[in-house]
Symmetry: D2
Subunit: 269 residues, 4 copies
């Protein structure tokens, strides 16, 4: 295939937007309150001295607000980060991390796979007390006839994204079990994501790891696998688009523990 034909590959394509809208009052994990605020201070207004005017504003936001990716610096186990790096004041500073910050995440431009566990379960939205298990992932991938390969990005559809406009309901959405996280880690994926606020089941101590949010330890700390949260996966699920080109471009916030992102899934049509 010649270089000049490069763009033809995607001439017939569909781009799925996987970001939830970003505004004040959107669902936010309590640790990251108030989430996201945007205020407009420069305005288009008369008598500015010329015909052209500019408007702009200021953002105040947690880097973990809305649809976002977790950097490896976000989590530690026994005060060690991924790769066994000890947390020290040299690494963890008042303005961010000098290692494993979100700016170290390369642009993600990879094979993506959607596992529609809600559909496998036969529901629109999985209830909160029915966590996504390793067995769900195995059965769903079999049902969908997809295999998970090294370097893939795996997204789990629970149906929770439809509740974005009801923050309390959304935040109480179902999570992914430690076993399911381990199953994905074993497959050496590059990143995982789901349509909930924290990937994991919230507020429960895992009996094996003896921590809350065990998937954060398994994926980020032990295996260096990124987690993407608050994804909008409804259109992908509706169209049964289970394999796609997944693109996610975290902002290079120097030392940040995450970044708001607008991931997309691209398929040819």
């Amino acid at each position: 295939m010649e270089k000049e034909q490069l763009f033809d590959v995607f001439a017939q394509r569909r781009v799925y937007d996987l970001e939830q809208p970003r505004y004040a009052g959107a669902p936010i994990f309590p640790s990251h309150a108030p989430g996201f605020v945007y205020t407009l201070h420069r305005r288009h207004e008369p008598d500015q001295g010329e015909a052209r005017t500019g408007a702009s504003g200021m953002i105040y936001a947690a880097e973990h607000s809305g649809t976002h990716i977790d950097a490896l610096s976000h989590q530690a186990e026994n005060l060690s980060l991924y790769g066994g790096r000890k947390v020290t004041p040299q690494i963890q500073t008042s303005t961010g991390f000098t290692e494993l910050g979100v700016e170290t995440i390369e642009p993600i431009f990879s094979r993506g796979v959607l596992l529609d566990v809600a559909r496998y379960r036969g529901v629109d939205c999985i209830e909160a007390d029915q966590p996504v298990t390793r067995e769900d992932l195995e059965a769903t991938s079999q049902q969908q006839e997809v295999t998970i390969g090294q370097g893939d990005v795996v997204l789990i559809h629970t149906g929770n994204a439809t509740r974005w406009k009801e923050p309390a309901v959304y935040l109480a959405g179902v999570g992914v079990s430690a076993g399911a996280s381990q199953w994905l880690a074993d497959r050496q994926v590059q990143a995982v994501g789901a349509d909930n606020v924290a990937w994991d089941i919230v507020g429960v101590i895992d009996p094996d790891l003896n921590v809350t949010l065990p998937g954060h330890v398994i994926l980020l700390v032990r295996h260096g696998i990124y987690i993407i949260e608050n994804l909008f996966l409804e259109d992908l699920a509706r169209d049964r688009a289970y394999e796609f080109l997944f693109v996610c471009l975290p902002l290079k916030i120097q030392g940040g523990t995450g970044s708001p992102v607008r991931p997309i899934a691209v398929v040819r049509t």
Copy 2:
């Protein structure tokens, strides 16, 4: 080509990262001071009650800080936005725009073209008093044997990106003339970008349009063409990668006049 071969297309690829690093003290247009600030408030620290700890911070930033895209709401001419929409309090509110906000920009996944005007001029970095003209664009595209098509994203390399670490020098970098902006608008491109702070020449009133930053009027207001600023184009220029898949995913900041972005250029190798 079968669907399962989709990812093979880019199996041999190179991804160019076009975002400048994002940190406090980076070059910022005075209207958008202080630019970008990130502070870490949640820390990994001992005695948190479990082995797992989380760290995270807060961002305070102008949406026009660092590498960013301008939404159509960002600019007006005689108090009209793109498409002739009059600026009213219903459209322009204290928390952003109800029309033409940055959330209305679709994910950009398009043919991109780099015009290396610096190379055409035979310099590493074009001096500030030598603006990029229509003639530069015509001659450069001829020299590079590329054509600009409808819907393309056109990036202009001036060499200024290498000065990012010296804010005063960077901010004084060269701009693009009104004639060059018009030439691009005539070609019905989707978006333009450059490796400087404001696309246009800063601080000069255009004699024809009688405004400062005339390209902002021509492109955003009159033609609905997005502008991407503060791009890092050095690697693309070095590799003479003049045509590529260009991906830019603005955050859906509801009502925002722009968004920080991390654009990429992708070529097959």
Copy 3:
């Protein structure tokens, strides 16, 4: 009285703290959401290279959050500020006002009077549907045997401050009628204040002035009288401390439309 005796005057004194505590989640008028946020980024932590360590944080706040004073620039009537100044882009800028900003408020160090309307009404807390009227103020001042003089600061106790911990209840608290505001304006007071979020009755259009928050027009715009909101007046009311030295020191936020404050009332004992 000799100068050296100056401090003896207040040697036997009681200082009443009239500020509500300031924290995220405190009651906030919707226009000023999210109100107040404080995050600690610099920490005391080991291995900082010396025995001394410093901790500090960042504030993100509306200037009208918590106990605060309204500057004259805060309100306009028919786009005129106090003194008939027209609102222009020269006066009203993206970073504040060039006239009548909060930095123009002199330190307030004046006679203060508490009108305990709740006590006059015989209730702990006045219900929301029973606004404070001109008659209330007249009768309360008679009952308390206090006169209101030019330059005084008049504080109105409704009992609402006790509901600070229940934001929804607090925000629905009772307001002061336009007639009562006019009565105070006629007495040429320097400032007024109350233990509610907006001085006025919220959400009602005044039939005479045909505006919401009519007291804001009468006091700030027409008479140049400052309004202090979200005061804590319970201790003053309990002790029937109806006359006092009132001290309020607004921060000189250049161009600001208000300032968080910690007013005090001082009486000799």
Copy 4:
């Protein structure tokens, strides 16, 4: 003296404003960058539906920006705060301190003393390499014929406040030596203040305490004495107002390590 005469005491008074103006770009200690930012988002503008309009903005600021007071939680020595409290995650949290936060500072309404060391030295502004020593304080108080008593607030005039508009020059201003801090601590003062950015000499390790900013350890950590920084003392010094009623009302920022303040000095005339 009867209660009703209370306000007569200060009927003939002069109030000195000791706060520097507060705006973006004012001098700021590097740890607290960007200092202070205020942006106006709600505007007076036509067509708002009623004659009344409101304008307001958002503050983003370090609590140690501009004229401010340091709370006891601001400093630690060997990870102990004032009173020997160990720094633990229970006390030091991501949103501030649960003990010794700035909200625990009572309103300061006390005898104040100005020591005009610049005048004693015979200069308008003391040079940076001539720190204020214990001997300066002793000699100045003798020259001024004032004694420092327990509970006083002592302010030191160096003349540096006149350089506020030149941040780099201001920040390089002279500091107070460890010996002078100890002399004040020995007198059991309630608070100290000066017209410089950090009270102490900046950037030097004290040979005795082996720390930078030794006064911060001596005053805040060892003696529980508050420090007020960036005071404007020129008017007091010019009028030789060496004794006064000092009022400083820190905002009750729950858990904060300091607060912006507008202190005043009041004298009878």
